[in-house]
Symmetry: C2
Subunit: 422 residues, 2 copies
């Protein structure tokens, strides 16, 4: 029998699983500090919800796992956490603003390559019901703090779809060709200006248009001074929002960079877009990304328009970044390994229960191994301390604690052990 | 479009989701204290793994959701966390004892009734590689503490499959009919002695056998004194193990009750079995249950036998129990709702960032609402405090904090706010 996890999925053994759990836990703490609340939705969704035209788009739909339940209902595994959020909000119409986080697996039956999996965890944080860039500013401040809480220093890149569209209009690109041009522009860092110009021509722009686009964007990179000269209505509104956003970010004490060609892949963004990168730049992919999508929720409810902004953290790429920067945990989460010698098992249990009562993570020898095997096990599991409960120790009411790093041993009372191991 | 979660699955809105998250978090803390480490496995498994004859058995297999990936691989959604554990252990052969926990959704496409869902969360804790009842004793102590950490007082019922089989042999029940008899006996509390006797006859026992079984079990309920008189080899070994287990439990300071007819449904148990009930008895279902399954892991690896003991907590029934006993959280996890008056938004942001730095969960008005709307929102969300940052407050460097329960307002500096809201 094949004992591997299915192709494209993974088992996370304890060392990795503990680190993932710890990272997710720290992110959650920051989400809560900013007043976001959790939402849980099922792994399966009705296929009708997943395939509605305004959700993920053609490409993602092709990669949706589908199945049928015994009642003949057509279901699929969720491919993101945004569609379930929109569905639940449209169904329940919670008080606005509705600020939720969700950390959960999503599924895509797509081609595999390095860093792409068929089941992966997304950490999504979204604010529904706020029109102004107050929502963006808060989310970006939360993002900065979330990364800092796990020891990663990041830079934030920001842009506006309104500004992008405005600049493309300025360059004379017809509306039908704007999305294509925008996807090419998004690749500027990867394929260079010439690459962008030739890709835009493949997407149906004339050579003159493509060069004009590059020209406008080169100027745009010089910042707000240039941007304010543009008279295009979309661009003007985009610039106004970005300026307000940067002013709020200053109040939050958060730095961000305006990157006029930043577009992000998804169709549904309507305003601000942002991406978060490792500051040191060893990892080319973004660690998190998101933006404003004012039309999506309303399309689900069919009723009022509900403005929305969200960001998604990629747990896998974050774990990759932590491999280079963060500390790794020991295989066992235990602080101390405890074993007994002779006929003291039951007294040993009483000692370990005292330590656990004090909140100390303890691992007890369950197999009745000999002394040297016990030390070997504790060492292999990288447990920092070993505690020995023998008859002499019980008489003295002081127990032998070995520091596994230094090899030093001390005899300590239960009270002192609690202090030492806290 | 149908905006509900698929039939048999659920959305957990923030209030409920926060409570579930908090319960799972507290359970995890106790698991870790006892030296258990996390394991993560995929939602999908190869169907070959799920359908192997030694895993869940016919009944569960009928309820397995199956699907096919684009490469034509046959997959299924996991129906428990025990099979994935056995697969991963057989695949990796980690150091023994291997003590892991996993809290995750499992899926069963079965008939729906009250308290039964198609996606539900199990919290599993298992010890692999320990032959003696040391593993059982540790798990039961952990269970007691885990329930106590969430405010539930439980009673633990224990039995042994060895003892059960021995008692059935004593009553003259042929081996082929023992499993059936055992499943009937398990229902003693539900259907009474007469019910058990008549069900056993339906399962092929003679009336004489059935009555003998009941007779033996009535005596067994009188405890170890009677049990020790039995000369049957299985029963004697079962009694020996149970006595050792009860002695260890005493050292752990944990009470348990011997219930000689307790069997549990699954085929794969080989020794101790246990179930955990709410002490006050309002909820008839068990909150957790498990036992020893010494053959399962070895059947996956095809190599050495790996003794194993495990318990599974049902998150749904625990949430049901907490509805009666535990406290409910407020809808928002925020401690304080903050809004500004006039032109002080950016200063207000600076104040809220100071509070967040101190670890306080804050919710900021993102919509620029008026004073009364802000108070109404905070009240509706059951947020305990409201903080107002106006121009006068900024001048004085003291900010108005309203206690929403009493309606009292005080003016406090940022430092005092930190102390007050911690």
């Amino acid at each position: 029998m094949d004992l591997n996890a299915p192709r494209g999925t993974r088992d996370f053994l304890p060392e990795e699983a503990a680190l993932r759990e710890s990272v997710a836990g720290k992110l959650k703490e920051v989400f809560k500090k900013y007043g976001f609340v959790p939402l849980e939705t099922p792994v399966m969704e009705n296929i009708e919800v997943l395939s509605s035209k305004f959700a993920g788009g053609e490409e993602i739909l092709k990669e949706t796992y589908s199945l049928t339940d015994q009642g003949g209902r057509k279901l699929g595994l969720r491919y993101d956490l945004t569609v379930p959020l929109c569905r639940v909000f449209a169904d329940n119409m919670m008080a606005k603003p509705f600020k939720r986080y969700q950390i959960a697996s999503v599924f895509r039956d797509g081609p595999l390559k390095k860093g792409r999996y068929r089941e992966f965890v997304q950490c999504d944080v979204d604010t529904l019901g706020v029109e102004g860039v107050d929502a963006e500013a808060e989310i970006l401040s939360m993002v900065k703090e979330a990364f800092s809480s796990i020891g990663l220093d990041v830079k934030i890149k920001v842009n506006s779809r309104l500004l992008l569209n405005g600049l493309l209009e300025e360059a004379g690109v017809e509306e039908s060709k704007q999305l294509g041009a925008l996807l090419s522009l998004d690749k500027l860092e990867k394929i260079g200006a010439e690459g962008v110009v030739s890709e835009m021509q493949e997407r149906g722009l004339t050579k003159k248009q493509a060069e004009k686009v590059m020209d406008v964007f080169r100027k745009a990179e010089k910042g707000f001074a240039f941007l304010e000269e543009i008279k295009n209505a979309n661009a003007t509104e985009g610039v106004k929002q970005l300026k307000e956003l940067f002013a709020l970010l200053k109040a939050y004490g958060v730095q961000a960079e305006l990157v006029p060609n930043l577009a992000r892949g998804l169709n549904y963004y309507t305003g601000t877009v942002f991406e978060v990168y490792l500051k040191t730049g060893e990892i080319a992919s973004s660690l998190a990304g998101g933006g404003r999508y004012d039309d999506l929720v309303g399309q689900f409810s069919g009723k009022e328009k509900v403005p929305a902004v969200g960001i998604s953290f990629g747990l896998d790429v974050i774990m990759e970044a932590l491999k280079d920067h963060g500390e790794r945990k020991n295989a066992s989460s235990a602080k101390v390994y405890v074993f007994w010698i002779g006929d003291t098992k039951k007294d040993c249990i009483k000692v370990i229960q005292e330590l656990r009562k004090a909140g100390i993570q303890c691992l007890l020898d369950l197999a009745g191994r000999g002394v040297s095997k016990n030390f070997a096990f504790a060492s292999k599991q990288s447990i920092p301390f070993v505690l020995i409960v023998g008859e002499k120790e019980l008489e003295e009411k002081k127990f032998t604690l070995r520091d596994m790093a230094s090899g030093k041993e001390r005899k300590l009372s239960v009270e002192d052990l609690k202090k030492e191991l806290k």
